[in-house]
């Protein structure tokens, strides 16, 4: 009886969610059409590829953020983790004297450690994710500044810039990286037990525990994944801007969370897809770019994105309720 109710609940959510993505796709198409009409530079291959280059860092971090928010958690420290990894990459290379290749790996490991620490405290000590990652948001940023003494690391060799500034088959290199992880995370979330467990945890964590899901281990692993992606994003970012600063990625967590929520992942957990997140990331980037190109200033852009965020959530919620009433 109870399981039957849960099943229909899931079914409804899943259907409503599909609708959210459809709505988002329409919003995206409408936005592109309007923006293309307002600026002739907008819908050019050069501009779109360039925008692709700019959205990779947010995109990489939005993938594990989707996992985390589906379980009802949050990771506010991703921007700081990116800053820490970026500075560690520079420090391992320049100050410690490791080969650059090894420094990149080490920096990503630092990201993994930082994420693992978030996950460990959240599950084993029971600190709420919001509090824990709010604390590490400050802590990791502080570490980045302390370790680097707020000094930049510069002078990377030319090959290093291939990832951030180069191209592969005519497409910016880092987009391939993002596409790869997009496909992998989408498959994991949709087709594996691990992925389905995330929804179970988000819907009812206690029930998930009783049904034998290793809740703690899964949670630790997704926060660790978030750290790893923060490290990857740091690598891409340093390579794109050709220098390392300890304040890199400040405030990026909000961009990441906005994209995920716009993509239809409920902040209360239990719903969300990688495809939705991808649409969210793309929509925000194109809005920012298109509005700038059509002459809207920076502060106006933020207002428009805020309005679209609220509207899309309202509409999708409304539709979900209507569907609920029909049944």
């Amino acid at each position: 009886m109870a399981s039957a109710v849960a099943a229909t609940g899931n079914h409804e959510r899943y259907a409503g969610l599909k609708r959210h993505e459809t709505i988002l796709l329409f919003v995206l198409i409408a936005a592109v059409a309007v923006l293309a009409f307002r600026s002739e530079q907008f819908l050019t291959t050069g501009n779109l590829l360039n925008q692709g280059r700019l959205l990779v860092e947010v995109g990489l971090m939005a993938l594990p953020m989707t996992f985390i928010i589906i379980t009802g958690g949050i990771d506010l420290s991703v921007g700081s983790i990116m800053g820490l990894c970026a500075i560690m990459l520079g420090v391992f290379w320049k100050n410690v004297g490791l080969p650059l290749e090894l420094a990149i790996v080490m920096a990503i490991l630092v990201g993994a450690m930082a994420g693992f620490m978030n996950g460990w405290f959240i599950t084993k000590v029971g600190v709420p994710p919001l509090i824990m990652t709010l604390a590490t948001l400050a802590l990791y940023r502080g570490l980045a500044e302390g370790i680097s003494q707020a000094r930049s690391v510069r002078g990377y060799p030319d090959w290093f810039f291939q990832l951030g500034q180069g191209e592969l088959f005519g497409v910016p290199t880092q987009i391939w990286l993002l596409l790869f992880f997009f496909v992998v995370t989408a498959i994991v979330l949709t087709f594996t037990t691990f992925g389905r467990s995330l929804y179970a945890i988000g819907n009812n964590e206690v029930a998930a525990r009783f049904s034998g899901i290793a809740v703690d281990r899964i949670k630790i692993s997704i926060y660790t994944l978030s750290g790893i992606m923060g490290g990857l994003a740091a690598w891409v970012f340093v390579s794109r801007v050709s220098t390392t600063r300890s304040d890199m990625g400040t405030g990026l967590e909000l961009d990441v969370i906005t994209a995920v929520v716009l993509g239809g992942t409920s902040i209360f957990g239990g719903t969300g897809t990688i495809l939705g997140t991808a649409l969210g990331v793309v929509l925000i980037q194109l809005l920012k770019n298109g509005l700038a190109l059509s002459g809207v200033k920076g502060d106006g852009t933020i207002v428009v994105i805020g309005v679209i965020l609220i509207l899309s959530i309202l509409v999708s919620d409304l539709l979900r309720r209507q569907r609920g009433a029909e049944h």
């Binding site: 530079q41 501009n47 930049s152 801007v241 220098t243 600063r245 304040d247 700038a292 190109l293 920076g298």
Partner: protein, 369 residues
């Protein structure tokens, strides 16, 4: 045996550190070569450096035509860059054939600044004015602008020279040093004694200013007495405490305090006010007018040294116009900048705004930042 070894080691460390302190703590300057200006204010003989900026490639002929500029400061919504924007609009209005829009991030964030510039390149502008959040990180996107034939001019905060044409430099280190020492000498006399409250001995800008101050004071006011330089980070309470300690420690011997940061200067003024030493201990320093207004109004502080950001923005637009017209090109030695007159080209590809600006009771109300 082991114990005595440790004692010896400890003693060695202690001795080493005190001798190191005796060497370095006297002024807080760096050990780089200094270039003090002449005492009478005549322009020092500066060795001409060849042009080291970069030129836009295949730029269209913009000479005399209407041009659109975009100004992307470190951040928008703060008084300082509000003032540079004001100067830019003034210059644009005067010139008549220039349109300037200011747009930028709301936080001093290099990621966002790069994105802003990138979008304006795509949108197509004739020129970009920028104040860099990071010297190196901003370079790739500026080079992209140059490659597309856009005029690129920096102001306030430089990028690497090879990623822009010109940089409008608000003040040189030796110019700031001269202005500080001259104003202090005016207030406490040429044989007065002073102390300095700085951020830390390792902060590059402050250390550079102090080194230039030492060189200039030695050359021009040999009887001035340098008591001590103390560190106070960029911390309000620590700066106040350090200034209070100086007042108590030196008593009658202390005639003046220099504040080297926009935090240390108002904090020192507050310490002097609370110690009831206004008029007995002068405060001269680098600070913004808004923070110093109460002390200047109460006559406790007579001169605040900085530059005039309105003029800085004004000069940047004139530089962009001249670069677009082809009047400002590699090898140029000066820039005709409207009401500011002729500005000198220094250091390869920098346009010097001139001597630092001194805020006093007479003019401080004209500024809001």
């Amino acid at each position: 045996m082991k114990k005595s070894l440790f004692t010896l080691l400890g003693l060695g460390v202690l001795l080493g550190s005190t001798s190191a302190m005796a060497q370095s703590a006297w002024d807080g300057g760096d050990d780089l070569p200094v270039n003090p200006l002449a005492c009478d204010g005549s322009a020092g003989a500066v060795e001409a450096k060849p042009y080291d900026g970069a030129q836009p490639s295949n730029a269209p002929d913009r000479s005399g035509k209407n041009i659109t500029l975009v100004d992307i400061p470190k951040l928008i919504g703060v008084g300082y860059f509000g003032a540079t924007t004001k100067g830019m609009q003034e210059a644009a209005k005067e010139l008549g054939n220039v349109e300037v829009t200011t747009d930028g991030p709301t936080k001093a964030n290099i990621d966002e600044q790069i994105t802003f510039i990138d979008n304006y390149i795509t949108r197509g502008v004739d020129g970009i004015l920028f104040a860099a959040n990071d010297t190196v990180a901003i370079a790739p996107v500026l080079k992209k602008a140059l490659e597309q034939g856009i005029n690129v001019i920096g102001y306030d905060s430089n990028s690497t020279p090879d990623s822009r044409e010109w940089f409008v430099n608000q003040a040189e280190f030796n110019g700031v040093a001269k202005s500080l020492i001259d104003n202090m000498a005016k207030e406490i006399g040429e044989d007065g004694s002073f102390a300095i409250v700085t951020s830390t001995f390792t902060t590059p800008n402050q250390a550079r200013w102090i080194a230039e101050m030492a060189a200039y004071a030695q050359a021009c006011y040999p009887n001035m007495e340098w008591l001590e330089t103390v560190e106070a980070q960029e911390d309000n309470i620590l700066s106040f405490n350090q200034a209070s300690t100086l007042i108590n420690k030196y008593g009658e011997d202390l005639d003046g305090i220099f504040g080297m940061t926009s935090i240390a200067t108002p904090a020192s003024a507050e310490a002097v006010t609370q110690a009831d030493m206004c008029g007995k201990v002068a405060v001269v320093g680098l600070a913004t007018p808004n923070a110093m207004r109460p002390y200047v109004k109460s006559d406790c502080v007579k001169s605040v040294v900085l530059w005039n950001p309105v003029d800085l923005g004004y000069a940047a637009v004139y530089a962009a116009r001249a670069a677009a017209d082809g009047d400002l090109k590699p090898g140029s030695t000066e820039l005709e900048a409207g009401k500011l007159g002729k500005l000198q080209v220094v250091n390869g590809s920098e346009i010097l705004l001139g001597a630092p600006f001194v805020f006093s009771k007479d003019n401080i109300d004209d500024f809001d930042f």
